[in-house]
């Protein structure tokens, strides 16, 4: 990898570049073959890793959960009693309240007895030293101990009442791989366009899988591919339309995938009814080389999730 942009490609597909930088890298991508290959390879690597399936039996999972839940816990439940114990909890709370009330009264008396010239002095004295993360702690003081000392200051605190369960896994957003930082607007595409794209990806995936399974047993020619041919013809038109929409919306990831898919669909639609065995094989190899089926699957799932 000789191009200076290759490292940025990695950040680009992770959506970790600022908008301006992301646009710059995308512009560079258009004219740099090496970076295009790098991006394709990185994305393919992603689909390989994210598509990895673990061999986990449901019985193993439920057995593990039962075992964990049946094990006694060392720490009491969260709440005010933490660190005090139930016996001394009430006394401690009463004492703490008393101290706070006394401090407030003392402060008010002290403030009212001071001259205006002294107030300035007090104000200077009482100004807290600016600590970068102090605001978070001041806003939500909870007497909880976290084993993760490095992160406790910045981590958002959950309210004590059981909040509605939020999705813990960050769902992949459409176009995330080329999206900017979260604060910036993403390429806008209507829900209809996204639904159509997701359906198109599913249909194309089904077609390519069907095409992959066409038998090549006969000596000269493959089995009829009339169905696949007709289906590909329909999908080519839709593909062109969706690609233009994605281009217009600036959704580079979807546009790029549709662009890779289009020549394959055209090739399938241009096959004769009973094509030569080698012609089928060549297209299959291209599909396999571009690793397009998993990419379609990953993207259609991501779009569907986003729509949910």
């Amino acid at each position: 990898m000789t191009c200076n942009f290759t490292e940025k490609i990695s950040s680009l597909i992770d959506g970790e570049l600022a908008t301006a930088e992301a646009r710059e890298v995308e512009r560079h991508l258009i004219g740099c073959n090496e970076c295009q290959e790098v991006r394709a390879d990185f994305l393919n690597l992603r689909s390989q890793l994210s598509g990895f399936e673990t061999s986990l039996a449901p019985a193993v999972q439920s057995r593990a959960l039962k075992k964990i839940l049946s094990t006694p816990r060392r720490t009491p439940a969260r709440g005010f009693a933490w660190g005090f114990g139930t016996r001394f909890g009430t006394q401690a709370a009463a004492f703490a309240t008393l101290v706070i009330v006394a401090a407030i009264i003392g402060f008010l008396i002290y403030k009212s007895s001071n001259t205006p010239s002294n107030e300035k002095h007090i104000a200077v004295q009482q100004t807290p030293t600016p600590v970068p993360t102090a605001t978070v702690e001041q806003k939500q003081p909870e007497p909880e101990a976290s084993p993760n000392k490095g992160n406790e200051q910045t981590a958002p605190r959950r309210p004590p009442s059981p909040a509605p369960k939020k999705p813990l896994v960050r769902e992949p957003k459409p176009g995330e791989q080329f999206a900017a930082i979260p604060a910036t607007p993403e390429p806008f595409r209507s829900a209809d366009a996204q639904t159509m794209t997701a359906l198109h990806f599913e249909k194309s995936e089904t077609l390519l899988v069907a095409f992959r399974n066409v038998r090549l047993n006969e000596p000269g020619s493959a089995t009829e591919v009339t169905y696949e041919r007709q289906r590909a013809k329909q999908l080519v038109i839709q593909n062109m339309m969706l690609r233009r929409q994605a281009d217009a919306a600036g959704d580079v990831q979807i546009s790029s995938l549709l662009e890779s898919l289009e020549p394959i669909l055209i090739d399938i639609s241009n096959l004769p009814d009973k094509p030569d065995k080698d012609a089928v094989r060549v297209i299959r190899q291209r599909v396999e080389r571009k690793n397009i089926v998993p990419l379609l699957r990953v993207n259609s799932t991501a779009l569907a999730r986003a729509l949910d």
Binding site: D14, L45, Q48, L49, T54, L56, V60, T75, G150, P162
Partner: protein, 177 residues
Amino acid sequence: MASEDEEFTMLFQDFYPSLCRFLECLLGGRAPLAQDLAQESFLQLHRTAWGTMPVDEARFWLYRVARNMAINEFRKSHTRYRLFDRVVETMRPRARNPEQEYESQERQTLVLEMLQTLPEDQRTALLLREQEQLSYREIGQVLNVSESKVKVDIFRARASLRERWTRISHVNHVNPV
């Protein structure tokens, strides 16, 4: 207590499979060991830390603990498994004309093997990004490193895997990634 258990169960159902997958990839495909370590991580969370942190934080905590366990396990049994892996590699049948289905499985095994050639921190960062879809900031939290290190590690991991894959593809005539 009951609601805490329910909450814990939800967390477990959501993340136990992902944690198993993460550990399996980290350990080079040793599924039973990965499942044991995932269970042990959840057990530790339930016994000692559950209730002392927000759920989001618990997730990072789990990955951090699981990763440390995997490193310990790897150190303990590295030699034994290296030998075992070599035996498996030697004994594994090689198809001369593999079907595409089989090729795909072969490719997955290859990815798993290549992951083992990466330094542990690069491998972990890449897996957390690609499988768990954590941001660089979140990965930094799990691994207790800076975002810039995460960024560099992920890039190096990708570049290294890409290079190896290309080289292996040339030697074995496997389709490139």
